[in-house]
Subunit: 191 residues, 4 copies
Amino acid sequence: MKENFSTRDRIINAAIEVFFENGFSDTTVDDITNYAGVSHGTFYIYFKNKKDALRELLKETFDLLYDATEAPWKREHSYESLRESIYGFFKIYQSHWKVIRTWKEAAMLDAEFMQLWHNLVDQITCRIKQNIEYSIRKGLCQPIDSAVASQALSGMIEHYANNYLMKGETVDLNIISKTLAHIWYYGIYGS
Amino acid sequence: MKENFSTRDRIINAAIEVFFENGFSDTTVDDITNYAGVSHGTFYIYFKNKKDALRELLKETFDLLYDATEAPWKREHSYESLRESIYGFFKIYQSHWKVIRTWKEAAMLDAEFMQLWHNLVDQITCRIKQNIEYSIRKGLCQPIDSAVASQALSGMIEHYANNYLMKGETVDLNIISKTLAHIWYYGIYGS
Amino acid sequence: MKENFSTRDRIINAAIEVFFENGFSDTTVDDITNYAGVSHGTFYIYFKNKKDALRELLKETFDLLYDATEAPWKREHSYESLRESIYGFFKIYQSHWKVIRTWKEAAMLDAEFMQLWHNLVDQITCRIKQNIEYSIRKGLCQPIDSAVASQALSGMIEHYANNYLMKGETVDLNIISKTLAHIWYYGIYGS
Amino acid sequence: MKENFSTRDRIINAAIEVFFENGFSDTTVDDITNYAGVSHGTFYIYFKNKKDALRELLKETFDLLYDATEAPWKREHSYESLRESIYGFFKIYQSHWKVIRTWKEAAMLDAEFMQLWHNLVDQITCRIKQNIEYSIRKGLCQPIDSAVASQALSGMIEHYANNYLMKGETVDLNIISKTLAHIWYYGIYGS
DNA sequence: CATGAATGAGCTTTCATTCAT
DNA sequence: AATGAATGAAAGCTCATTCAT
């Protein structure tokens, strides 16, 4: 009755589920293999250990997110484009939440996964920084510190997304994206 | 050569150090007692287990932070008062960083500590929310969603503070507080 | 690019190499099949397990050594014939060293391989014993215990050969064979 | 009903027994702790692992044997003194046989234990070599290669002792020591 | 109170062996 | 014959917790 997935995929998918369910730390290799319906030893055919399995599954998510988050923050920052970018970001964050939740837990425990997360965040932050610097050069906003501001704004979005998904999404995503876009837009361009 | 602290205090202080040094997960009871210079068994006289020790040490920090963070966010939100509040917040966050770092790791692993952190954050967020609602009522700012906005702003500050301390504080705190106050102030009150 | 050997031979030859390289204990079936360039499962077509493979490969070496060591120790024991026999023994020991090294390791772990080695040694020792007994009967040497003496002398040669090959052969084989023949010859025939 | 031994001693003694009984390779930590009547975890309080336990128990035997074997081979080599030395050597070899048997197995598997054994053998061999060189200088024997001869003779004794104990000691020790002393004495001094 | 030896449950990892293709 | 994925038994090691002193 096995699904049409490779054993490796079934383990990866099982890992995503049980990491999310029990947390990365509290998950044992047995939890994963039981969920995947394979024997204990099979895990070690495909992965060196639990950390290695996480590394592998994050690789895929990293690439997806890296590509998906590149474009939006590159565009010029009108209120409307910001609102759209934020809305889109929440959607994609939401669709990868199980993995992201695990990723962020692992990042608290292991510098490697922290670094990987920063690689992703830094890309976004960098785009925002470039936008702010451009706006400053054009005289569209006051000469604030672009490094601090870009980190603050990307952090605001990320933090809100985490809280939003951690708690269970009761607020309307339209209101969220409008409100965050408002703060962002006027926070930079208001004066 | 023992300090003039109670055994319990010495264990608590040792725990703070080794939790910060090795991480909460990777710390063993032995690590704590070795650092404290007491025997292994002594730990269990004062604490049920590692988690219990963390609970106890967070209690103290919680009360301190709860009191210290209440006042600032209550005041009216001029740019200058915001800048001062943010500056003060960073200072206190910094002085409790070892504990906060551990707290946030534990929060990723255990709902109890997550809840405790939220209790603290909620107080701050609540004050901010009241300020925004007051400003909306007075027509000082546009009618944005105060719940979302307050979470976003407190989240922005918290997130920046974490990154700032996680990485090792190379940016001038004055620039940080000015920049964050700018975004906040204009983000809410900018036209 | 496969050699013109049967699969079984390739596994046997691979086993000889990796047993010598890693030791019998530390060698896994995977090590052997990887070296042989065949799949894991193929091993079990030809052999029941690692021990079985060793048994098979020792059989061949046993027969070779059994035949090769029979003749020399049969001859009359003049100093010169002893020197030649010892020299020849070292040469043949050397040429089968990889297998012998493994054999002796296995003999320490398993009575079966110990017994097999003794079968070989006993043949040699028996010839030596017969020689000594002949010499005693003829009054060519003192009436020593032929069983003890023959074991001691074959043991001396074997032991020296092991040490010699274990360490890496820096001494001239001519000096070795002369010296050992001297001890042997005078040890038995010296007044 | 525990003996008046420290836990560490009881584990060491248990290790000696089960290493001898099952072989070092085939012994598990559980075998040792079961025999010692302590729990599994207790083993790891005193030793890093099985190899570490062996290292520790060999240390003691090494020191004993090193001291006990120094003196005899130093004396001048008359037939009678040789016979006595050999007899004494067998006695002490016999009394430490369980450990030596394990030691020699481990030496086949691990260079560290091989080296340790050689340290012991080298001391004896060195004394024998000095005796032979002295005899050569004094013209008491022919100018044979002292390095080869000393290794051959110490090897002969060691090898015989191993075989003797491995098989189960059916030969009279007096006959053995006489015979080996005979070969040694005339092997060097006969001409 | 303080100690630290002892416990044993729990998890990790390896690898010989099987078997469907 | 040959393959190599899958299995699961067998060790290994750690560490939270207990308890007699």
